[in-house]
Symmetry: C2
Subunit: 405 residues, 2 copies
């Protein structure tokens, strides 16, 4: 997987969401899906500072509504997650079920319900089989299988997405882990995506929220699979302070170190999600340089990586750069076509608004690679932005034509 | 094809773009494509009032730039159109080529160049073989084959799109015809779509422009195939006054009659384009009712019909209405999930924000039909809006993965 950052921390070869001190996790099959794991939890020994970002879809699933409310107090000690059913558009009973997930978990762990976050993913509009879920909660182990947790949150994902890094903050070793699920419906602003990040860093919840809110603009919000947005997405970060570093309480150099670690975790997970788009055969990275603002650069990068015509061309190994410039022109930010240069896999194809002769065969051959890069130089400023996506394939159609029935 | 309007006019069973008095057309194969027709023209005996709408993409093809400028004077007597090459992103030489198409046509017809509109469609970023085009212009016949014109503008379209209607305006018989090409890249604001409308009505160019600009908001701008926008789209209307009705020069009842005819032609063409989306097996019509404004209703209708997940579900005959409500929630206009009711093919599936029990088998069987309707009742106002699109299929991916190479 391509790395976008190097930093003074190491990546563990066996990631685990419970690697940071004082965390525990489990994931099991309890009967919401046919066979696969479908219920998991994350537990901290002590209440942790929490931060969250949630879907911008106006239709918000019951667990999103409950968890948004729950984390207002800035603390969380556990998260319960199910897959196989989104508990979305399920009316008042859906809210009751989300709260039952919360209270059953709290009772089992002997903690207050307002320290428990709830998340769900799966089919929308079907009533959650709550008895299966509550019975399942009683099956979960305190010191269970952290890889099982990473599996229990998956839907059409073909692989688990997990990362663990370690660094030193103010002389103390700090560990940070993340797991995520993605696949279809990944687009602007947290679309059908769940992400859970644990760290033993010691940081205030307000700075943790500031770090996460800023970070998602360049990580999770810059991936797109199919342009749809979901009812259920959330990313939660728990920081339980067990690393014993001095409390990070202001926006200083130590905070920047923490943010670099967070960015590495979020970007790694985001790219893993883009790489595992439904039916995808290729990861596409679009880099926009020399833009007038970072916002404009990100908007254009995402427009290009989200274009169905660009995505099908990359699947077909077709260096049809006209579709790239058409997507740039359709972005909701001003551009000057006459200054733009485009390269695909480092082959220049367009410069100053006109075609450049290129070796068609060599470029087409390079598109066999499972990782394609598109470089767009706007020659119009100093800002840069990136976005990640996948190609659009027969299998995307197959997976999505057959999902519920 | 579903009709959305009944009106005091008749639809001719053999449509022809040269049916209105004083119009002539031809279309031939001149060598831009391998075999199919690729160059055509439309001619009026006298200069006609003209109106045009053009792509909102910031990257505009040379013919778009030239024709926008040309119709500033409010008159046009001929239109020359090629397929097989978009003459887009071709730099200064592209502009020169578009002007050569204009002057060669004007010379051949013995009229002023500023009475000739130019349009192109096809692959972006390849230099137009201008010698082939200018030689081709000399092959075209004054009284040629109007069906050939409808074919000459096609790209990946599987059928010609043409309509002719006749009505009576102020005691005179008025004829109006339209042809269009669409297929992929059809989305907001004139994306890779060409439309040409001829009428012998007598109307000022300013009212003609007003009528067209208003109309496209509910017709051509309400169809979507894949969410991409193009560099080349335009719709031109020529009204040559040969029907001899008293000049329509103010916004009165007679003008409304003219607008009803125009709306029938544009909507018929728009639905024909949606129905022939690349790889499409089904036409999807989304109707949003009881919205707070017509703009909001149209925005929501288009968001739903443009959702990849809704489109693949309809291809898979899967009544997965959760994807419909998720798309509604993602629309850039405020909604109240708790009041929304959704029906698919007249089967209620959601009411007041919660699921409704429905006959899964009967509804799934009804999705075999090549025309699917989705009704969304917002229960929140008095306005209505519609949008049309197609399903997303294996063949869409196939067509677009193999387009240039």
């Amino acid at each position: 997987m391509p790395q976008t950052l190097t930093a003074p921390f190491t990546t563990l070869s066996h990631p685990s969401i419970s690697a940071p001190k004082g965390f525990h996790a489990d994931g099991q099959h309890v009967g919401l899906k046919h066979k696969a794991k479908d219920l998991g939890w994350l537990i901290s020994d002590v209440p942790a500072a929490v931060a969250g970002v949630f879907t911008t879809n106006q239709v918000q699933a019951a667990p999103v509504q409950v968890t948004k409310q729950t984390i207002q107090n800035g603390q969380l000690q556990a998260i319960i997650v199910n897959s196989g059913n989104a508990n979305a558009v399920t009316g008042q009973i859906g809210l009751t079920h989300a709260k039952m997930m919360q209270t059953t978990t709290a009772d089992k762990l002997g903690i207050a319900p307002n320290l428990v976050g709830v998340a769900s993913t799966g089919v929308i509009g079907q009533i959650l089989p709550i008895d299966t879920v509550t019975a399942g909660i009683h099956q979960l182990q305190h010191d269970g299988d952290p890889q099982g947790f990473a599996h229990a949150i998956m839907t059409t994902d073909t692989n688990e997405k997990a990362v663990t890094i370690q660094g030193t903050i103010a002389g103390k070793r700090v560990t940070m882990s993340g797991v995520a699920k993605g696949s279809g419906m990944i687009h602007p602003n947290m679309a059908t995506m769940l992400g859970f990040i644990t760290t033993d860093a010691n940081i205030t919840s307000s700075l943790l929220q500031q770090a996460l809110s800023e970070d998602v603009e360049t990580s999770f919000n810059q991936i797109t699979i199919d342009g749809d947005t979901s009812t259920n997405d959330m990313v939660l970060v728990m920081a339980n302070g067990q690393a014993d570093n001095p409390l990070i309480a202001q926006d200083d150099a130590v905070y920047e170190q923490f943010k670099a670690m967070l960015h590495h975790v979020t970007t790694t997970l985001a790219i893993a999600i883009a790489n595992d788009g439904e039916g995808a055969t290729k990861l596409i990275t679009v880099t926009v340089s020399h833009a007038q603002s970072a916002t404009a650069a990100r908007l254009i990068a995402k427009k290009v990586v989200g274009s169905s015509l660009v995505k099908t061309a990359m699947f077909g190994k077709d260096p049809n750069w006209g579709r790239i410039i058409a997507a740039i022109g359709a972005a909701e930010t001003a551009i000057s076509p006459d200054t733009i240069a485009i390269s695909i896999n480092d082959y220049p194809v367009m410069q100053a608004g006109a075609p450049v002769a290129f070796n068609q065969t060599a470029l087409a051959n390079s598109l066999e690679d499972p990782h394609i890069t598109i470089q767009i130089d706007l020659n119009n400023g100093a800002a840069t932005g990136q976005a990640w996506g996948s190609d659009l394939t027969y299998d995307y159609v197959k997976i999505n034509a057959l999902y519920t029935t």
